[in-house]
Structure formats: C-alpha cells, structure tokens
C-alpha cells in the first residue's frame, strides 16, 4: 500500500528520523505494557515458550523421538531425564520443548487467518448492511451453531490431518466470531464524520473499510486475537488428544497426553507435564489479553 509511505514522507524529513520515532513509539508501548501486572506476566510466559521452542535443537537433551531402552526400566524423573521418560522411553522434556514448535506456529497463524477473513466479512456486513449483512451474518451463525469438535473431526477425517489443514479448519471456525466483533464496531464507526469526509473526496468502499474504519477497530480486535490464540492452543491439544492432530511420531502436546493418560494411575508425570505446558501457554495468552484490555480502557 502506498498510503503509509505518503504519511511517512509528510511527517518526517528523513527516513532516519522516522525510524527513530518508530523505535521510540515502540519503546513507549512496551513500557506501557509493564504498567499492567497481568500483561507483564503473560508476556513473560509467552516469550519464555517462544525462546524454548526456538532453542529446542540446542537445549533439548535428547532427540525427541529417540528411545532410551535403559530409561524404560525407570521412567520417573531422574538426573538423566529431568521430567522422566514416556512409555517408549522417550525423554519428556525434549518432547515438550520440540512440541512447543508446532503449537506456536499453528495457533497464531490460524488466528491471523481468522482475523483477516473475519475482518473482511465483518467490515462488509457492517458497512454495506442490508442483504449483504443478512447473508454474512446468517452464514456465520450457521458455522457457529455446529458443535465445534465434531466439525473438526468431520473435516479433518475427510481431508486428512496436517498442519495446514488444522490451520484452515481453525481459520474457518474462528472467523465468524471475529466477523461479529468487527461488524458491531463497523456499524458504529461508519457513522463517524471522518467516514463522511472520505466519501466526499470520492474514496472507494474498500479504502474506507480498510483505511478509515479497520484501524479504529484494532483495540478490541487485538485483545480478542490474543484470547483466540490461547483457545487455539487448547483446541490443538484437544485435536492431538483425539488422535486427529499432527501425525505421529513428531511430538505434539495433546498427542503426548493421549499416549500416556492410560498410565495416569502409575506414572502421572507422563501426562501431567505436557498438560502443564498447554495450560501455562494458554494462561500466558489470557493474561496478556486481560492486560491489553485493562490498558485499553485506561487510555
């Protein structure tokens, strides 16, 4: 898009000054996040997982799929296997670290997809109104009225399970929720005088929706995206648990729970550690969402 460039040339004399200003603005925003305890805790949790996932090849003590026959005799946490080993003798810590990678790619990508699709649908429904609104709203209602897990099972059973299919399914099922939020905000924002001013200089509907309306809906949208990312982590876990998540043998937190929950009574650690991984990441996203909302309200 050429428009931000135009704004940039207007507001700054040199690119370097502009870069400095952007940097300062981001520093101020991050400092602002620090004012909210939930946001700080959330950010720390999320960044910790991102770091662990990135460093997995370096810090994981074993290859994720390596079977250590010696460990089979003694699966509980030990000096050799800090979080113990599973029923096939694989190191749980290594598998959790490696398992963080697909989750941290799939969950945000799916939310991004849902945000793009949902925003477009919501903008169109709210801006045009009338029959376009009716068709989009009803279509969203239909998707939302399905029991979600069954929907996932049907679609994934049909198309097979892969990372891309999971992203596709999550995008489709989350988009209607985002569409509703954006539609509601658009209904309000389209009556603003700056939208009338844009019409009076002959802007296209697409420009008005994307450049005049959408940026002003970003606050609630970002908060919601944060929450949705957390929910997606849960759903990815649930899909793995149901056996329609990522194909084995690569580690997947939900799949790890599925493989070992039968041994809960004897070796609870095999299922509990991956569960703890899932919940800590979800809590991280939720806290960040809470913090962002708090900061948004205060402005």
């Amino acid at each position: 898009m050429s428009t931000p460039i135009a704004a940039g040339t207007l507001s700054a004399s040199s690119p370097a000054a502009s870069r400095g200003r952007t940097l300062r603005r981001w520093r101020r925003r991050i400092a602002l996040l620090g004012e909210s305890t939930p946001a700080t805790v959330g950010i720390v949790l999320i960044l910790a997982w991102v770091a662990l996932a990135l460093l997995a090849p370096l810090i994981a003590p074993y290859p994720p799929n390596a079977n250590d026959m010696a460990a089979l005799a003694h699966t509980t946490p030990s000096r050799a296997h800090w979080l113990g080993a599973d029923h096939l003798g694989r190191d749980i810590l290594s598998r959790i670290l490696w398992g963080a990678r697909p989750v941290l790619v799939i969950a945000p990508l799916a939310v991004l997809g849902a945000a793009v699709l949902g925003s477009l649908l919501g903008l169109a429904a709210g801006y045009y109104g009338r029959w376009i609104d009716l068709v989009i709203t009803r279509a969203c209602d239909i998707v939302l009225s399905f029991p979600v897990i069954i929907l996932y099972m049907i679609i994934l059973a049909h198309f097979g399970s892969s990372a891309w299919n999971i992203i596709g399914v999550l995008t489709l099922t989350k988009a209607p929720i985002i569409a509703r939020i954006v539609r509601g905000m658009t209904l309000d924002l389209r009556e603003r005088e700056y939208v009338a001013a844009a019409k009076m200089r002959g802007e296209s509907a697409l420009y008005i929706m994307l450049v005049e309306i959408l940026p002003n809906a970003r606050g609630p949208l970002v908060v919601d995206m944060c929450l949705r990312t957390g929910y997606n982590v849960i759903i990815i876990g649930a899909l793995g648990f149901l056996g329609i998540g990522l194909p084995p043998p690569d580690p997947d937190w939900g799949g790890m729970v599925k493989d070992t929950y039968g041994m809960m009574m004897v070796w609870p650690h095999m299922a509990l550690f991956p569960c703890a991984a899932i919940s800590s990441l979800v809590v991280g996203f939720n806290l960040l969402a809470v913090g962002l909302r708090e900061l948004g309200l205060r402005d």
């Binding site: 009338a196 001013a197 009076m200 200089r201 002959g202």
Partner: protein, 687 residues
C-alpha cells in the same frame, strides 16, 4: 444552622494524579455562598469549574484529591467528613443537576418512583405522602399533567422534560444548596430559556442557594446574583452580575465577553476578538498570574514573578479581581454595533440553489405489522446562496437543517425537487455519482471535533489524502501543500505529524477546515462547526471562516442553532421549523420586525450576556411534534404564541414576500410589525 455563609470554601486545593505526575488542577479557591443566593461559576472548559463543584460533595473519583483548604457547609467541615455523614448531606441538603439528564435518571424506573425515592429514604416519609409531594413538585416544574408523567419512563420524555424532572428530583427534599453543572447545555434555545426561567422562579420560592456552572455567560445572567470567573483553577474575578458584565476588570473576563457574538452586531460592524492561545496544562505552573501566557496586557516581571492576590475594585466593595494591572486598564466598553457600515455591492448570481427540495425517509418496519408512514425531514424548501456570500440555516434540533446539508453534500439524495450547484443539478446525485469536478466544488466541515478526524491518521495524512484525491497531487508532492493549508487555518506545519488525540477541539476543527480547503472548493457546507467548542475558540473559528471567505470568495452554507453566531456571520438567513422554511431574508431584515412568530420566539430565547435584557419575553409551550406527525396546516401552529385560529391548524400558511424577505404566516406582515417590538435593537451608546 449557624450564622455566616451557607457554604464557605477557603483556599481549596485539588490535585489529580496522572501518568505524567501530579497535576494541581485547583491551586487555591475561596468563595462564599449565602443562603438563597445564586453564584455563577464561569470559564472555558478545563478551568476547574466542575472539579470545584464535585469536590463540594466529594465526588472527585479515584484520581482526584483535596490536598488542602476547607469547605464548610452549614458550619460543618466537608473535607474531613466520613461516608455516613456525606450520605446524609448528599441529596438531602446538597442536590446536584448535571448536564445530561438521561445520565441522572434511571431508565428502568418510572419518573414517579425516582421522585418518591429521595423523601422516602432520606426522611422516612410514607409512600402516599411522598407521592403527593412528587405530584406537587412536578406541577411546580411546570410539567403538564403531572399524574400522567409520574407513570412514564425517562425515555418517553423529551430532553427538556427530563431536565425538569431532574430539577424536581433535586428540589424535592428542599436542599439548602443546589449545584447545577451546565444544566442547559444540551438543550435547544427555546427549551433552555424555559428551563432557565423556571430555575429563576423556583429559586425565589424555595430559598435554595444555587451554584450555577456554565460556559454560557448569557444563561448565567439569567439565573445568578453573583458571578465568579475561573481560569486554571483560580478565581480571577468575582462580583455582582451587573458589575461583572458592565465593568469587568480582569483581562480574561473581558476576553470572554469580547469573543461572544451578540444579536445586535455582525462581522462588518464589530469583529469578534478571540482570546489568544488555549487553556494551558495544569502540569506546568509559573509562580505568577495563570493567565499571563494569553493576556494582551501582560507585563513580564510584575505579572509573572509572584502570586497575584485578589483585591477589591476601587469604589466597588463587593467586586474582587486578581490582576495587578486591574486599576490601570481602561474601562471596558461593550462591542457596539452603532456605526453601521453597510455592505456594498448589489445582488450576486446564485451559487447554490435549492428548489422545492423534499426529503422523506422510509422508516424501518418494526415487527411484522408496524406502520411504514414515511418520515418527512424536509418539505418543499426553496433557498439560494449567492456566490461568495453566507447562507445560514437556523432552527432547533429536528428542523431538517442537517438533512439539507447532507443532500447538498451528496451523502443523501433528494426525494423530490432538487439542488443546483453552480448551474449543475446535483439533488439526485449521491456523492459517488458526482464527477471529480463537482466533488471539488463542494466540501463540508462537520460538527463534532472528536469524530471529524480519523484518530488513527495524522493530521498531515488526512489533509494530504484530500490533496491527492481531489487535486490529483502525487504522493511525494504533498508536504508543501499540507503546510500551506495548515498555515491558512493558522496551525503550525509541525501539526502535520500529530494524531488528533494530541490536538485541542479548536485545533481539530481547524485541521478539518484545512482538509475541506484542500480541493479549493467554491462552496463550504459547515454543519454546526462551532457548537461543540468553547466561546473563545468559537470566535477564532468563526473569524477564520470569514477570512477564508473574503480571501477565496467561497460560498458558505452555515448551519447552526445559535442565532448570535448566525447574526454575526450570515448574509442571508433561513429560519427552519419542522422541515419547512418559516422565514428567509437578508440578515438585517430577518433580525428586525416583522418576524415570523417562530423567529420572534427564538430571538427572545437567546441568552444575552447583558443584565438589562436577561429575561425571555416569549416562552414556547409544548414540544416540537415529531417528523412523523406534522400538523396539516402551519407546522408551527401547535406551539405558536400568536396563533389566530382554526385557519392555522388547517391551511398551510401563505408565503408573504416583502422584497427579498419571505415569511410563511397567516398573519399579514403589517399586523406582525404592529404586534412585535425589535428584539435586537442595535445599541447606539457604548457603556
């Protein structure tokens, strides 16, 4: 009760905790209010008026704190009183009336229950006794049919009726002090006049003291005995109404009076003088006079080095002013319209012609069997704006003036009739259907400074985008154009990099004007561009529009409910009521008899900051019929104080023409002239 004043505020200091540190909003205020007295507190927004009022009932919220001084009410210290003590005083001894009546009323309770609540909880009165008192109180605030009103919910009443109910609620416990915070700001002129007269009358009957906060000097004059002028949290001047308005000593008070358009003068006779600059932040305070930064009479050193004490004005013992130079300044004179300089030049060719314009809206069907009677917003309107001149359209809310603006700008299309813009018919053309040349010709300035600029974009982007779209400038070639436009509206080029939230209301409105000017339009339609601004800022914006018109020969269609601004700015005035034009003519003719009875009522309702002319002479009864229930005869017949009989209800009024002056009324013009007195006689002597 003890002797001495009812309310005694001494050295009151209030601070707010903000992200940027502690802001001393009120550095020290002292005033007294005697039983039964009415004190007006005036100043621009952000001057701490409301903060002082809220601190009296200790409603400052979490961020605000009283950091010093004392507030004694009926001999009791309020600054240290505990919650139980405060509860006993709030509502019972001190009542408050706020600006928005809907915010004070509970939407799910009937009016009757809300009125009965206070006597029942505060005084333990029985339900039947409380009901009787509520009925009596509703009759006192002059609501027709009190028994029926008791069973209504707030949303079933008009804004004026709601505010009367809030006043009734405040007075029902017989409070010793009534605090009114901008009680008439959201109301139409005629309703405002009626509410102000009511307050005046109730005050003399109930002997409640009133602390009346307003930015409108005219309404203060109507209600108060004394006035205190506040600037940046300090009282700069106080005294009896007459003294303040005839002999203001403080430059700030003079500034407030000078920037106010009056009904007696226009732009050619007595230009408005805006106060320079804007209210400065409470975070930075110099040791001297708070107004020094904006004052035309400032003397660096004397004014800026130490706190300015409040002193008694010579020969006026009850008049105090906090200005070291007060005695040196010449006596103030009211801007006078005596030297009438008439505009030269004959009639000009019309730029915008509205002919037989009708706009109806199809209401959305409610449920399955709802009625679908179309709502008539504008009916058969004929108007014209001459090239380079100003056509003003005035009227109360719902009269159709904004609908006309929307049809002109193409945001709505005409149902019947049309609009020609420089000879081209555009009434049926939505803005998308207009050619780029037509879009360039007409641009709009909107009412709400907070929504006129997109909060996500910088000012420079907003103006630059308009240059690109309407002038076809290349994206790289905008900086100069933007800077030039900002200069035209007297903003610094550095503003281009700012987002709207860093701008004040007046600056936002200037930026919006710059955006409208980007296409170098022949016509600017301004829909209430100054009604959301402080008087001082309003004057500057009005002057700016006048200057732009003079420099570019722009035709201005100015829509407003404020007759004083219209009188000042307009060449031609159209007075609208319920979608039709009641009166149309050159501004001097519309503002002198004969008037249409509606114009007469509007003019007499305008609050004038002059103690000698403070009372509305004509009060309108009843409410404006909704656009769905327009009377078949004269639209104004249901409220007209000069109604002559059945003919008014049944037959649409004939349009009487007196040269270029038109009045739609059944009463002959000569008869109207005989009945009416001049409501805006130009003042021939300065005082």
């Amino acid at each position: 009760m003890t002797d001495g004043p009812l309310l005694d505020v001494r050295d009151l200091r209030i601070a707010y905790t903000t992200r940027a540190g502690e802001a001393v909003v009120v550095p020290g205020v002292s005033f007294q209010l005697n039983a039964g007295e009415a004190l007006g507190l005036v100043g621009e927004s952000g001057c701490g008026k409301s903060t002082v009022a809220l601190s009296i009932v200790r409603y400052l919220g979490r961020a605000g704190r009283i950091t010093g001084g004392s507030i004694r009410f009926e001999g009791r210290e309020l600054t240290t009183l505990d919650e139980t003590g405060l509860r006993a005083i709030r509502g019972r001894r001190i009542a408050m009336v706020y600006q928005d009546p809907m915010a004070s009323l509970n939407p799910v309770m009937t009016v009757g229950h809300q009125l009965m609540e206070a006597p029942m909880t505060h005084e333990g009165v029985s339900a039947s006794a409380a009901r009787a008192r509520a009925l009596a109180m509703l009759a006192e605030v002059k609501l027709a049919d009190p028994a029926a009103v008791m069973d209504r919910y707030p949303h079933q009443l008009s804004g004026g009726q709601q505010q009367r109910i809030v006043i009734a609620m405040a007075l029902i416990t017989g409070p010793a002090l009534l605090i009114m915070d901008e009680p008439t700001t959201g109301l139409d002129v005629t309703v405002e006049a009626a509410v102000l007269d009511l307050v005046r009358e109730l005050r003399s009957r109930h002997h409640s003291a009133i602390l009346f906060i307003s930015h409108n000097l005219g309404s203060v004059v109507r209600v108060c005995d004394r006035v205190a002028v506040m600037y940046r949290g300090e009282l700069v001047e106080d005294g009896p109404v007459r003294r303040i308005f005839t002999n203001p000593r403080h430059p700030y008070t003079r500034g407030l009076l000078d920037c106010l358009p009056t009904l007696g003068s226009d732009k050619r006779q007595a230009p408005l003088v805006p106060i320079a600059g804007q209210v400065e932040s409470a975070l930075i305070r110099s040791p001297g006079c708070g107004f020094a930064g904006r004052c035309a009479h400032v003397e660096i050193g004397r004014c800026t080095s130490r706190p300015i004490p409040s002193a008694t004005v010579r020969e006026e013992p009850d008049h105090h002013v906090a200005c070291v130079r007060a005695d040196e300044l010449a006596r103030w004179t009211r801007r006078s319209g005596a030297d009438i300089a008439h505009e030269a030049g004959g009639p000009r060719e019309p730029m915008v012609v509205i002919h037989h314009l009708t706009k109806t809206y199809e209401p959305r069907r409610r449920g399955f069997r709802g009625s679908r009677a179309p709502v008539r917003a504008v009916f058969d309107v004929d108007l014209a704006a001459a090239r380079g001149r100003t056509l003003a359209i005035v009227g109360e809310s719902g009269c159709g003036k904004s609908t006309i603006a929307k049809v002109l700008s193409g945001l709505e299309v005409a149902t019947a009739g049309g609009v020609t813009l420089d000879g081209v018919e555009v009434g049926a053309l939505a803005v998308d259907a207009r050619s780029p040349a037509l879009k360039r010709k007409l641009q709009m300035v909107f009412q709400n400074p907070d929504s006129t600029l997109n909060p996500s974009h910088t000012v420079g982007y907003a103006i630059g985008r308009a240059l690109r779209r309407l002038q076809g400038r290349a994206p790289g070639d905008l900086t100069g154009g933007v800077a030039r436009l900002l200069e035209v509206v007297k903003l610094s080029p550095a503003m281009a990099a700012r987002k709207p939230r860093h701008l004040s209301g007046g600056e936002k409105q200037r930026a919006a004007i710059a955006r409208a000017l980007a296409s170098d339009p022949d016509v600017i339609v301004a829909d209430e561009p100054v009604s959301a601004l402080d008087v001082s800022v309003q004057a500057a914006i009005v002057n700016l529009l006048t200057e732009i018109q003079a420099a570019h020969g722009t035709t201005l269609v100015f829509i407003s409910h404020d007759l004083a601004v219209v009188r000042y700015l307009a060449d031609t005035v159209a007075v609208m009521y319920l979608g039709t034009v009641a009166e149309l003519g050159p501004v001097e003719r519309v503002f002198t008899p004969p008037y249409h009875p509606y114009t007469e009522a509007l003019l007499s309702a305008v609050p004038v900051p002059d103690p000698d002319r403070a009372v509305a002479r004509i009060l309108l009864e009843g409410r404006v019929p909704s656009a769905g229930e327009i009377p078949p005869g004269c639209p104004f017949a249901t409220r007209c104080p000069r109604r002559i009989g059945a003919i008014c209800d049944e037959t649409p009024p004939p349009v009487q023409r007196f040269g270029d002056h038109r009045i739609a009324c059944h009463i002959p013009g000569d008869e109207l002239r005989r009945l009416q007195t001049d409501l805006v006689e130009p003042r021939t002597t300065g005082r």
